[in-house]
Amino acid sequence: MSFDDAYGALTDHDDDARWAYGTGFTDPLAGVPTEVPAGVDAADLAAYCLMLGDDALIMSHRLQQWVTRAPELEDEVAIANIALDLLGQARLLLTRAGEAEGEGRDEDALAYLRDATEFRNVRLAERSDPDFAHLVARLLVFATWRLALLDRLAGSPDPVLAAIGAKGAKEVTYHREYAAGWVVRLGDGTDLSRQRMQAAVDAVWPLTGELFRPHEVEQRMDMDPSAWRAEFDAVMTEVLTVATLRRPVGGDVAGYGRDGEHTDEMAAILAELQNLKRSVPGGVW
């Protein structure tokens, strides 16, 4: 079997019972040391990995929902690839969370079997996008915030988190660039595109306050988000200025995703994400 003939490879009959797109996905951290280093609290590590993993998982799910609905084929492919990058980060983070927790929960158990109140993502990730402008506004905010976070995470005392941070930062640099490009095109576009892009920025902005409200777990992990608020603000100001858009003021909404307080939208996401797995208990592909 070789990679030369992809179609031949698919019909290659051996005792490895896979079908076309792969089954039995291996542990993404296979062979990566699993011990929690001294000086890192295992419970805090698990909780923090869940926060970052849930951010990526839920955001990825929302992005995946844009496949077949994007304005251009090239954007559909771009959005799908951004979603795939985030899904990969989610797999690594949820696997690490399960290892640190030490109760035998793997990435699938965490992704598919938790209820809404057990998810630790920021509510920005779960918001639905009424149009493409809302999507790029939300992705710009998310990617700018996450990039600063991952860059800082690369200095974590946990070697796995540090590696995820260093790797993820390179990928999210491209996500941010993609979103910023669209915000500029739509903002500095026609009167109609500017109006709709401004409406999207205005609608998304009230969810940015939550991104910088420090959680005690974040503080104990030395990842207090207020440390990169200035960097976030500088990028947002630059993009909005070039896009000829107004920077919204205030309007923080109550509620805190990091403590499991989610919007109604979360139920719809989880119904779609978890339904199949939950309806066949113990089932495998």
């Binding site: 079997m1 070789s2 990679f3 030369d4 051996d14 490895d16 896979r18 792969g22 996905f25 291996t26 993404p28 951290l29 296979a30 062979g31 990566v32 090239e74 954007d75 492919v77 771009a78 799908a80 690839n81 951004i82 795939l84 990058d85 985030l86 899904l87 990969g88 980060q89 797999r91 690594l92 990039l147 600063a148 860059d151 070697p159 796995v160 540090a162 590696a163 995820i164 260093a166 790797k167 993820g168 930062a169 390179k170 990928e171 640099t173 491209y174 941010r176 660039e177 993609y178 910023a180 490009g181 500029v184 960097e231 500088a234 990028v235 630059e238 993009v239 070039v242």
Partner: protein
């Protein structure tokens, strides 16, 4: 065809007392090929006579296109995929945001002209961007610098 060694995915192969340990690194966090690469490695090494094959993943240091060998770059170009230039150099402080048209000069792998434009930073896979040559008008893929 480009090999995983030429792409810098294969990091190490080591025989020990009772088998072989292979170390690989993912290109992108979500790259679905790593599972297949692992399966293929196990098959190839079992066929070579090793009963115990251990495929391990390392995340650190993160994969970079700088690890693609000269041979690998040649094979990519021969397949019509523009090979990557040097990866972005990281300086102290926040990663800068670059707004505006792509500043990188990427030559067309078909006609060699330097006048090409970016269509999308993400193509059929996360690792490639889609470009178009303004001279011969053909689209082509370019391996993204990372």
């Amino acid at each position: 065809m480009v090999t995983i060694a030429e792409l810098g995915i294969l990091r190490d192969v080591r025989e020990d007392a009772d088998g072989v340990v292979v170390t690989v690194t993912p290109t992108y966090s979500g790259c679905p090929a790593l599972h297949e690469i692992g399966a293929d490695l196990r098959r190839a090494l079992h066929r070579a006579g090793y009963t115990r094959v251990d495929v391990r993943t390392v995340l650190d240091p993160p994969w970079t296109t700088d690890w693609i060998t000269e041979e690998g770059r040649g094979k990519l170009a021969a397949a019509g995929i523009s090979p990557p230039g040097p990866a972005p150099r990281r300086s102290a402080g926040p990663i800068p945001l670059v707004l505006g048209p792509s500043r990188r000069v990427v030559a067309c792998p078909r006609c060699g002209h330097a006048d090409t434009e970016l269509i999308s930073a993400f193509s059929a896979t996360a690792c490639r961007e889609l470009r178009r040559c303004r001279a011969c008008r053909e689209p082509f893929e370019h391996l993204k610098e990372i």
